[in-house]
Amino acid sequence: MSQRVFITGVGIITSIGKNTAENLDSLLNRHHGFGTLELLDTVHKASFPCCEIKLDDAQLKIMAGAEGPGFTRTTLLGLIALKEAVRSAGLSETELKTCGLISATTTGGIREFEKNFYDILNPDQHGVFEQFVDTANPGEHCERMADTLGIRRYVSTVSTACSSSANALMQGAALIKSGKMARVICGGTEALSRFTINGFNALMILDSEHCRPFDQTRKGLNLGEGAAYLVLESESSMVSRAKHPLAILSGYGNANDAFHQTSSSPEGTGAFKAMTAALNSAGISAEAVQYINAHGTATENNDLSEGTGLKRVFGENIPPFSSTKPFTGHTLAAAGSIEAVYSLMAIQKSIVWPSLNFHHTIPELNIVPQTELQTVSEIKNVLSNSFGFGGNTSSLLMTAV
């Protein structure tokens, strides 16, 4: 029999809070993380609002308790969230050794690499930048985090663009279900970089105003940064540690839209398949879902495709749904795990998070996201979507204990 997968700890840092409590407080009070870029040096500073964490690398390094050279902003954000997750799950140093770590990234430490690019490429140049010569590698941040915490058993990195950390969580769950691992910490980390801002700008999908998911006037996404990790654990491991679960990762689905390199199909093929697979693997019907944390990037293409997918799965009775990206921006590789934490909070507090900035219904879809914070009698099941370039679509289902 395949095992159930429990969530026993979480950690998070975003532009709306540097830990779980602060993120919850911001969600409850509609505090978004937008502002003008202060720490990232780019010519697009004034053009595009971003959700930047207003702590410089030196401050992050102290918070992360990191020592020595070589820690990129991606790694530092990751470490802060990872350490909170470890504390939250009450894992000892000995227990950490036999844990797995699966981290997700889109571009690793490209922020530091791009800053020192020509120095790095000139073999005659030497200096402090040399600590970052290998940070264009996507797996570098994960090994460094594992080394810092003494995690040895399974050290893995996933990169499927904006669905990366949802896939990291799925792989962790699969390892536990198969009995190969008892505990795996999964999530993702993402720092703002000129690389991603210019990439999305070149694709013309950045909005110069605050993003408006599922709104007819939506013009694109805003970028954000952050990290979140969840401790996944088998039942026997949890019982042996006398630990209470926060929720169950009860289902997941991964599919590919197979439509276009950077855009989603008008039929929402991948979205439909991922959500359906998540429901099926949990063995529940669509009616049993009380809240959907949508991918909802506010690009013209995503919201139409995802909305169509939602209608195909849920028909005319789509449960309350929202996108929390107007709070945090699109945190790319970290979005799946950050939103998994928000979904978990929705279960714990019986609250549906609002979709900010929504005013006009998309006529082709005629669906309206939840716009106000709403307390409900019970949230038993939450579906959380993460889609990305390359056609990758993933959906996670979290269930109350």
Binding site: T105, A146, R152, T157, A174, S178, K180, N256
Partner: protein, 361 residues
């Protein structure tokens, strides 16, 4: 646990591996410490319009996937899982140069799009119209092993499933420059075929793309059975020894039953030390084979080793180019252990067996 079979392989490497009828009868030597892929005529695999739009590595990767599907006789797959250490670093470099040199103005999205790590898994899905499972692992010297493990676990759940599992890495100039800074590559040029005679620290840079068709069901095209795979992170000599013993034991076999070991040592006297200790110890009696003088070193180089092992089992022939001088080799090869290392940090084990359905020795 279900059985897992390799039912097809497509591989493009610095040797002429894209021609299925060949098996390293002739090997090519490289003199600049960088080994680049020998490629087939892409036009016979990819239509001209699409071909123009693809970067060199996407062409190589897509072609390797097509070679694999043809070999397996598969037109459909339930999922595509790829892996890479550094991804499309040449495209990333081009994009970075555009951003910096043009001061972030008039930047084209092409290199950004083609530089994402999952660009190949997306492309293969698109060309196969495969809406099934899709994932990409980028964990340095473990990337391919994690992709493989993902497929193996799903096959254990449902033996009827078919997966295309791939690994790719390119010998990017940027990586060579940064690798030299960190002592990953040798600074003095050597002849690649004499890699294992070199006493300088570091290795030589290689590249390649390979796809493996994996299923829980054997077919008439089956190469061999892939029993199990495991990663070992930063072991010392004792850790690795214990890991090998436990791995063999868990898979109901012993050192005595292993006919040959494919050793992923990289010709780097420092970083080969731990993996080399196996040859002097527990695996001392088992004939050794090496391959990184033919493929060069890269994060997913184990793909070359896996192809080599599967091909030896399938053909019951060991090419001279991979033999180690003082080893003697058995006539029949039914069990092969692959032991790989990357930068002395990422170690992995794969166990292959002759497929009973195929008969053989």
């Amino acid at each position: 646990m279900a059985s897992h079979f390799i039912n097809g392989i497509g591989i493009i490497s610095p040797q002429k591996t894209y021609e299925p009828e060949r098996f390293l009868e002739e090997v090519i030597s490289y003199d600049e410490n960088i080994l680049n892929c020998l490629t087939p005529d892409f036009k016979t695999f990819i239509n001209p319009i699409q071909l123009r739009r693809l970067s060199r590595m996407l062409r190589i990767g897509l072609t390797a996937s097509i070679l694999c599907q043809r070999d397996a006789g598969l037109s459909l797959s339930d999922g595509i899982i790829t892996s890479t250490g550094y991804g499309f670093l040449e495209e990333t470099e081009k994009f970075l140069r555009e951003i910096i040199d043009r001061k972030e103005q008039q930047v084209s999205p092409t290199f950004f799009m083609q530089g994402t790590y999952n660009a190949l898994s997306g492309l293969v899905a698109l060309s196969l119209k495969c809406t099934g499972y899709n994932n990409t692992y980028v964990s340095k010297g473990f990337a391919f092993e994690h992709a493989l493990n993902d497929a193996l676990m799903q096959i254990d759940d449902d033996p009827g499933m078919n997966f295309l599992v791939g690994g790719y890495d390119e010998a990017a100039k940027v990586q060579h420059t940064t690798g030299l800074r960190e002592g990953h590559y040798k600074s003095k040029p050597i002849s690649s075929l004499s890699l294992f005679d070199s006493i300088e620290t570091g290795t030589i840079q290689g590249e390649g793309a390979a796809f493996f068709a994996l299923s829980g069901t054997a077919s008439e095209n089956t190469w061999c059975e892939l029993i199990d795979s495991q990663t070992v992170y930063r072991p010392d000599e004792l850790d690795l020894l214990l890991a090998v013993e436990k791995f063999l034991q868990m898979n109901n076999t012993t050192v005595g039953k292993v006919d040959a070991v494919i050793n992923g040592m990289a010709g780097d006297p420092i970083r080969d030390k731990v993996i080399g200790s196996l040859g002097n110890g527990i695996l001392g009696e088992v004939p050794q084979l090496r391959f990184k003088h033919l493929s060069g070193e890269y994060c997913t180089a184990i793909c070359f080793g896996l192809w080599l092992g599967a091909k030896i089992i399938k053909t019951q022939n060991i090419p001279d180019a991979v033999k180690v001088q003082d080893s003697t080799y058995p006539k029949g090869i039914s069990t092969i252990l692959i032991v790989n290392q990357y930068l002395g940090r990422n170690y992995s084990l794969i166990l292959l067996k002759n497929c009973p359905a195929r008969g053989g020795s």
